[in-house]
Amino acid sequence: MISIELVSLIPLGVLGAVLGLDAVSFPQAMLSRPIVASTLSGALIGQAGRGLVMGVALEFFALESMPFGASRYPEWGSASVVGGFLFAQAADGMAGAMTVAVLAALLTASAGGASMVLLRRANALGVRKQQAQSAQGSRNAVLALQLGGMTADLVRGGLLTFLALVVFVPLQRAVTATVTMAPTVSRAGVVAIASAVGLAAVWKVVHTTNGARWCLLGGLGVGFGIAASLQ
């Protein structure tokens, strides 16, 4: 039973590897953003719609992260694959499914950020090892370091996704079995927290631009109007 489940996680590990690679190394086309990665993860098990819902929730959090140079930030590609899968495979109406999936994705994103720091240190070791060759202008040293770094990043993303799923799939089952929270409350709680982070992130980015505060207020007015009309 367990071995069958582990095998079924391999395609997700591959997806996590590719999307983890996109975050920084190649091609940085933002396939790793939650709104894409989580949807693809859900689509892998025929639940693209549920994957997208999780992607939207995580995208609010991702609005806060800006990948500036050496600063440390969460890695959303692999984490969104984990979150998207956990939410997509949970039965519709399962208590606390969204809360647990988002929590698992946030913890994976944090671990992903830490794993990127380790990878960057490993790349630095590679630089030192090959510095003698590079100092002589060795083409092979440069190519080997670049391809080695990308391969290591691919493996990092895949392993992270796979391990996170191995930990969080049974944990999600155990937790949701004891949670009595209604799905609507679960979603509402997540939305409240995620939207607060997203709104604060947008404010941080735009508040110094002349006129942007009014644009935000105007947009919120229109947004509330649209949301009310959709009720």
């Binding site: 500036f68 980015v205 110094t208």
Partner: protein, 163 residues
């Protein structure tokens, strides 16, 4: 508001400064103190292009910055003074005793430098100069972006800074 931040960063004007600090702190002006850049028109052009139109950038040598500091202090906007190396900041602090806080935002790898944090590499001589600066009563911390923790100098020099 006034000239509030004194930063050592070998990249001078870049994203962490202009966006990372500039947006949340609403920076209105940057004072870039570097004797070589102050004499180089094309480098000034480059750095000028790196700041948003609403942010002023001023180029100074150590001598001119020393002379104009009170003017910067009186500015109603929030400002940041940046030097690309420790020596320049030490010279400024020696001439201007009212500099009480210095942030090391980025000193990157070069042969001879040892990693103290993921964005700070120092030679033993540079570490001594920072210690001397602190001994004069200046609070020296390491911090790249506002979200990062400010690491005290003694912790940084023990190699226990942000990794």
């Amino acid at each position: 508001m006034t000239l509030e931040m004194f930063r050592i960063d070998d990249r001078l004007v870049h994203g962490q400064v202009v966006v990372g600090w500039g947006q949340p702190c609403a920076l209105g002006f940057l004072v870039l103190v570097d004797d070589a850049v102050a004499q180089s028109a094309w480098e000034q052009d480059l750095y000028r292009m790196g700041v948003p139109p609403e942010m002023e950038i001023i180029f100074d040598t150590v001598v001119t910055a020393t002379a104009r500091l009170s003017e910067y202090r009186a500015d109603c906007r929030t400002g940041m003074l940046i030097t690309s190396d420790i020596d320049t900041m030490v010279r400024l602090a020696a001439a201007l005793p009212d500099i009480r806080n210095v942030t090391v935002g980025g000193v990157h790898h070069k042969p001879g430098r040892i990693a103290r944090a993921r964005y700070i590499y120092l030679t033993p001589e540079e570490a001594l100069r920072l210690q001397a600066l602190a001994a004069c009563g200046v609070t020296v911390v390491a911090q790249d972006v506002p979200q990062g923790a400010a690491t005290p100098l003694d912790v940084l020099l023990r190699g226990e800074g942000p990794t």
